[in-house]
């Protein structure tokens, strides 16, 4: 790559872009106008609303014994308009009066005899004028309360302090900066990220799809330049514009805020609550890899389009996809954690928020910077690959590169290892990001949704899209009798042994109690009827997880590794999908058993049988639904206090089951191999 050529392209593209009104508007126009407008109109509207409320008199009706006395308390003509209604309640409902002061029977007596009189102020909380009226009335009555109290104390010959043993005042220790920061930190990151995206939007399309539409991409390629130089020049342009957009937004935002706060504080403390320069610089620095990432992603998508319009329709979803993680910071309580600081875009958003209240550690800043840079580099590599493909840069066809279109994909019997790993990573990512949230939010329903929507659906979709023969890839064959019996026996034996293993593990490496409680609470076992529990916790995983792990993953990896490595990969992936470390090991071992069933029988259904057995019995034990004798054994073995483990005789019997099951599976495998090698005569 020659720097000179890159710079020639860069200079030309910048010149070209600076003459584009849309770019200028997004880069400079919007930020310069948006923030001042937002704040001016925002505060103006608030002030006007307040003035209006202040100015209007509150219409108040007083009812009950002693109304005259209370009316005399409310005699401020500026604030109140006292009205009389035969049915004040109806008047309040119809908005003819703003508040009703309701006095109890014997009001005057109560007041005069030194007792407590309860006054109700009735108002309509859905109406701001009514709210304001009630606030005023309460304020006035509270003043009167102080007055009455003073009188009573004087009459009794007591000092005023008698009724005020303590005086409590809240003192805010947060610096003004911190309070300001917390307020701003909620919205600013989102706006900022969206603006960087908007800044990169038009250049990314114009320099790729636009160039294709003009037919000049071809011309460029006929000059002594390489496609990587073209990409570099164009990328630098988009990136610079994104960064400048970020700077103008940040600058405009900070300046506007500074002036706004100076005004709020009164003229004497001008610019006192400015946002600290150091943190603004940090935000700026971490914005650079973010702009890099957004530019690279946008360019690699936009280059797929063949016209400007198509580029817009391709990039709009990308922009929306950016908004979601960016909006994470606006959710109260979200913080930079070990997990969130690795989430692209969301990490910048959260870092920005925390920097506004000076909470972010230097490690967090570094992790966000480095991870974003890594994502950005990956995105740029993808963009570079796109640019080097003739079918992409010269495409007259729209959309996906030709080789990725379904109609262009050759049908195949089993997925490639790459496809399998893609499916696995897709499902795991969905599980980590969406699944854990859904499960926490919706309990049992969330578990079912995770299985069917985040495991099964994507797996089947990718296999369908890649034109993989589902029957072969998922080993959807009826097992032989031997395979069927083997799976039943091994499954039945493993039901006990998997529980026993968890007991042993508990002795060595106990499951944290807090975590266990939390998980039990999440799943809300008690609430759901048994058939539902079985359906969600035994049948669904048996179908969905088997399709993913023993189906798509296993058939894709099978040919490219020895059996032991295959077992290891499938089982570890299976374990990892169970999220909690303590559960992973046991699940991984169970994964080996299930993998073995499918591997030997050649049928996914055996794995499903085993899976249903293991999970189903666990559900029965947990919900105390086994036959009484068996339940007692299980409770002794797994009860929360002892966890004594199963009796030896049961372990022995089930071990025999396991051995018999393995033998049956081996036999069926041998017969299957013989069938395969000897062609039918």
């Amino acid at each position: 790559m020659r720097l000179r050529t890159v710079l020639v392209i860069f200079r030309k593209e910048v010149l070209d872009m600076l003459r584009d009104r849309r770019t200028l508007v997004a880069m400079i126009g919007i930020p310069l106008v948006l923030y001042p407008a937002l704040f001016v109109f925002g505060s103006q509207a608030a002030i006007m609303q307040q003035d209006k409320l202040d100015a209007a008199k509150s219409r108040v009706a007083v009812r009950g014994e002693g109304a005259e006395l209370v009316s005399s308390w409310l005699n401020d003509k500026e604030k109140y308009l006292l009205l009389d209604f035969s049915d004040p309640e109806a008047a309040l409902r119809n908005g003819k009066v703003d508040a009703i002061v309701e006095l109890p029977d014997g009001f005057l007596k109560l007041v005069n005899l030194g007792q407590t009189a309860k006054i109700n102020v009735r108002y309509d909380a859905s109406d701001t004028t009514s709210q304001e009226a009630s606030r005023r009335v309460v304020e006035t009555l509270n003043d009167q309360y102080d007055e009455l109290l003073k009188q009573r104390l004087t009459n009794a010959g007591l000092p005023e302090s008698f009724a005020r043993p303590l005086e409590v005042e809240k003192v805010n220790v947060a610096s003004a900066e911190k309070t300001t920061g917390a307020m701003l930190g909620l919205l600013m990151p989102l706006i900022m990220i969206v603006m960087v995206g908007v800044g990169a939007f038009y250049p990314a399309i114009d320099l790729t799809a636009g160039e294709k539409e003009r037919g000049t991409f071809e011309t460029l390629l006929s000059t002594p330049t390489q496609s990587l130089e073209i990409l570099a020049g164009k990328f630098l342009t988009v990136f610079s514009i994104a960064v400048i957009t970020g700077i103008t937004n940040l600058g405009s935002m900070v300046t506007t805020l500074a002036f706004q706060f100076a005004q709020l504080q009164g003229t004497d403390s001008e610019l006192a609550i400015s946002i600290p320069v150091g943190r603004v610089v940090l935000i700026f620095v971490s914005m650079i890899p973010l702009a890099f990432l957004i530019s690279a992603v946008m360019m690699s998508v936009a280059v797929l389009a063949r016209s400007f319009r198509e580029g817009q329709s391709l990039l709009t979803p990308v922009l929306i996809l950016i908004v979601f993680p960016a909006a994470l910071a606006t959710v109260p309580g979200t913080r930079l954690t070990a997990a969130t600081q690795l989430m692209p875009i969301a990490n910048f958003s959260l870092l920005f928020k925390e920097l506004m209240v000076s909470q972010a550690s230097i490690e967090a800043v570094l992790v966000v910077l480095i991870s974003t840079t890594v994502y950005a580099a990956i995105a740029l590599i993808i963009a570079a690959r796109m640019f080097q493909r003739e079918d992409v840069v010269l495409s007259v066809d729209a959309g996906l590169p030709i080789t990725l279109r379904r109609s262009m994909i050759p049908p195949r019997d089993v997925p490639t290892p790459g496809m399998s790993l893609f499916i696995l990573s897709l499902c795991l990512l969905l599980l980590f990001y969406a699944g854990s949230y859904i499960q926490a939010q919706f309990g049992l329903k969330g578990v079912a949704a995770t299985q069917w929507l985040l495991f099964l659906t994507p797996t089947l979709f990718v296999l369908w899209y890649a034109r993989v023969n589902l029957r072969n890839a998922l080993s959807l064959r009826i097992p032989s009798l031997g395979g069927f019996i083997g799976a039943l026996l091994l499954g039945a034996g493993w039901v006990v042994w998997s529980q026993q293993l968890s007991v042993w593990q508990d002795w060595v490496w106990p499951f944290p109690e807090a975590l266990a409680n939390e998980m039990a609470k999440l799943l809300q076992f008690e609430d759901a009827p048994l058939p539902i529990l079985l359906l969600v916790l035994a049948v669904s995983p048996a179908i969905c997880e088997e399709v993913l792990f023993r189906g798509a993953l296993m058939s894709g990896l099978r040919k490219s590794m020895p059996a032991w490595a295959l077992f290891l990969c499938v089982s570890i992936a299976f374990g990892v999908s169970h999220l909690v470390l303590q559960r992973m090991t046991i699940t991984a071992v169970s994964g080996i058993v299930l993998t073995y069933m499918v591997w030997r029988s050649g049928s996914l259904f055996t794995g499903m049988i085993g899976h249903v057995l293991v999970n189903g019995v666990a559900v029965l034990i947990q919900s105390q639904s086994l036959p009484p004798a068996a339940q007692e054994i299980a409770n002794t073995a797994l009860g929360s206090e002892h966890r004594a483990g199963f009796p030896l005789w049961l372990l022995g019997v089930t071990a025999v089951f396991c051995v018999m099951g393995v033998a049956a599976l081996e036999l069926s495998a041998k017969r299957r191999r013989a069938d395969l090698t000897d062609p039918p005569s």
Binding site: K12, R19, T219, T223, L394
Partner: protein, 258 residues
């Protein structure tokens, strides 16, 4: 039909067994150009005729080193385009009928940009711009934005861009596509001038009259195969026809029948 396959040292364009495959449905390759072998000599205009989808654009893009052939060799002005494409590119001027110019730049800026991409020095670019501007009569709009120019003026900018680095090989893909008479005349004159300067020109067209008028030899491409590459009179003699239009149809029909 090997009569036109000759390796000539004087030829500025040499194509040897060029083949280009694309991805087709179901992962099967689609052959855009099957096996193209021909040459174009200095001072020669070679017309490439063929129905839509015959492989004209693919063949010309391979010669202009915009795309890489699946197999075969290209020699441009004596330089192997497969091993040193950037050297070959300096000798090539490429123009397609679909090509437009950068609307927000002026013709002068467009020329400066491409001059720099050809690694010309700025004074050389300025001088060449003046020359081309007066010979193509572009002075009146040299500093106006391209999106305000007429089709003919835009076409002149494109021609100036092609000629800027003084290439001795011109590859023109349907250069007169969709042009009015005036703009078309400009293009045809420019092609004839290039021939007088002893350049090699290869261009594709659907216009038989244009081809008859300009071309020293006619190549007919059909289904990715070059069916002939002969002077017009020879072609008419072979097909026993009296004009290019009939000769073209005769060649295509003979192949389609076979």
């Amino acid at each position: 039909m090997d009569s036109f396959v000759t390796n000539r040292s004087g030829a500025l364009i040499q194509a040897e067994h060029l083949r280009k495959e694309f991805h087709g449905p179901g992962g099967k390759p689609i052959v855009a150009v099957a096996d193209a072998t021909f040459y174009v000599e200095a001072g020669e205009i070679f017309g490439l005729l063929g129905p839509n989808g015959a492989g004209k654009t693919t063949l010309l893009r391979m010669l202009a080193t915009i795309i890489t052939p699946t197999s075969g060799h290209r020699v441009i002005a004596g330089h192997p385009a497969d091993t040193s494409p950037n050297v070959a590119r300096r000798h090539v001027g490429f123009l397609s009928g679909n090509t437009r110019v950068y609307g927000r730049l002026t013709p002068r800026e467009v020329l400066r940009y491409f001059g720099q991409l050809y690694e010309m020095a700025l004074p050389a670019i300025a001088q060449r711009t003046e020359e081309l501007s007066s010979s193509l009569d572009m002075n009146s709009f040299l500093d106006r934005r391209c999106d305000t120019l007429s089709t003919g003026q835009t076409q002149k900018v494109s021609i100036a861009r092609v000629l800027l680095h003084d290439p001795d090989v011109l590859i023109l893909d349907e250069p007169t596509l969709g042009l009015d008479i005036m703009a078309r005349t400009t293009i045809l004159e420019f092609v004839q001038q290039a021939k007088r300067r002893n350049h090699s020109i290869i261009f594709s067209t659907h216009d038989m009259g244009e081809a008859e008028l300009l071309c020293d030899r006619i190549g007919i491409i059909f289904n990715g195969e070059i069916l002939c590459a002969s002077p017009l009179d020879e072609l008419m003699r072979q097909t026993q026809t009296t004009n290019l239009h009939d000769a073209f149809l005769a060649v295509i029909n003979r192949k389609a029948a076979a």
